[in-house]
Symmetry: C2
């Protein structure tokens, strides 16, 4: 990777452009769902802003393999739907009981518990619809592999398993292995799937997939460490969600176990590891390298 | 269809045999999910008995097309997982607030609301895993079509949309068009998908699929009419779920709109229509014909 390429790459412009693409695709993805209340509850959370990091990772991975990423847009949308669904359900009163998300009242605060649960269910199934029925020009072989990845990551072996473990640990003393188990399932798995699914749509072979899996695992864990740090060091206003809630819920976090400095160091090592995996791709990997740096330098 | 074949077909034995096959496949479908509480909540509802009508319809449709149905077992399991998931979520306090299901306390009564929601989510995603990753020997082309059918039927265009409409209508005067809208989405869609997905796994071409769709739509609506009738005429003990709850919730039902006799007549006409569609298959359709008769004659 030449220094010249990295310095000429305008990451802010790249991120802004990709975000606009993703927002447009998300907006177009929800049709005339009936009943109207359900449609509104789905749109409310899906179009509530956010960094759109997962779909952008998906597009970047596809581009790395295939040279373009238009064909990965439906999968990128599917991944953001799964992410949004997990946020809606996790925020419910019977779970994390959170009032604020992406700077706005949570879904159940606006639409009530029943509609929030059902909007989540509908987004989850719509994700599989995006891949299976709304991904023109991609072979069934690739699509069924993407469905397989998403089915694992959204369920008991991923998001759901992580959330259950997280709920079980509240108020308990938790060691670092358990903490990593929760984070890998609750956050890491979907970040990893974002990269893997983008690469699958692009037609990646197994050896390339393995390298990208390593990259994605490392940035996934780093992402969560930074999330934990931001919960202690940032404000609700900047985060767009309730700050300090890990402390209030007495959750085990990286800063609690290792301190802020040591936690940040650990994230840094992970990001270096992730970037080193991409060396064989040289300049083509510039967006994924920049996304790795972004994960550790973000302030929300 | 010869009378001799119908009379020599032992439907009770057929149903018992297929139910055993389905129960065994359901039992084997859940692996060592972690955490343990999640696994138990998933198993509690998935293995709670029930008629297993949907998976049996799926197997029968596959058999009609392909002569065997072993390859459709993972899809049959997926369909029962989606059905179970919708029961768990619909029973929640914020929705139908039901305490009894299949003769036992509902999932949230045993495991709490959070785990009930998450067990439902995990079953829904596991359904897509069954099709995409646990259906050996079936082409990706067929599997992705099944994923497409299931993604529609489980979400806003199916179960979720029907449940939202149902919740919106509680305590309101509802006309028969709205009632049928709810039933087609909440009950009919998944019964139809059971038949269609079985046929897809079996390799059915479009014209055969269309005939089976007509069969399945008719039995789906008849099934719901009988459900409405049983809610008024049967007891909680026989039903295994709370009887008379439609009356208590002041829901619009077929008996309320048309009376019991007229409702039963309407179900009968639908079943005759369903059976007539199967004529081209002659004796091969015996199980599907008998299943149609079973739907109208059942007492729970």
């Amino acid at each position: 990777m030449s220094e010249a390429v990295i310095s000429s790459f305008d990451f802010a412009a790249y991120l802004a452009k990709e975000k606009i693409r993703v927002e447009a695709a998300l907006d177009a993805s929800l049709g005339p769902e009936r009943p109207k209340q359900l449609r509104e509850a789905m749109r409310y959370s899906l179009l509530a802003g956010g960094k759109r990091l997962r779909p952008i990772l998906c597009l970047a991975a596809c581009e790395l393999i295939a040279g373009e990423s238009e064909t990965a847009l439906p999968t990128a949308v599917a991944i953001e739907m799964i992410h949004t669904m997990s946020l809606i359900h996790d925020d419910l009163p019977s779970m994390d009981n959170d009032d604020l998300r992406r700077g706005r009242p949570t879904n159940h605060k606006v639409y009530g518990d029943a509609l929030a649960i059902l909007a989540g269910d509908a987004l989850l199934t719509r994700a599989f619809e995006m891949v299976s029925l709304r991904s023109p020009g991609i072979s069934a072989e690739r699509l069924i592999k993407v469905v397989g990845e998403l089915s694992l990551v959204a369920g008991a072996p991923g998001l759901v398993g992580g959330q259950v473990a997280d709920l079980e640990c509240e108020g308990k003393d938790v060691d670092i292995d358990t903490l990593e188990y929760i984070h890998i399932h609750k956050t890491g798995a979907l970040l990893k799937a974002s990269v893997v699914c983008g690469a699958l749509i692009g037609g990646a072979k197994d050896d390339l997939l393995d390298a990208l899996r390593t990259y994605a695992e490392a940035i996934g864990l780093a992402f969560q460490i930074i999330d934990d740090i931001l919960d202690v060091t940032s404000s609700s206003e900047v985060l767009g969600k309730t700050a300090g809630k890990d402390l209030i819920a007495d959750k085990t976090t990286y800063p609690k176990l290792l301190g802020v400095d040591e936690s940040r160091q650990r994230a840094k090592v992970l990001i270096e590891k992730a970037k080193s995996v991409l060396e064989p791709w040289e300049d083509d990997a510039t967006p994924l390298l920049a996304l790795a740096d972004y994960i550790i330098s973000r302030d929300r």
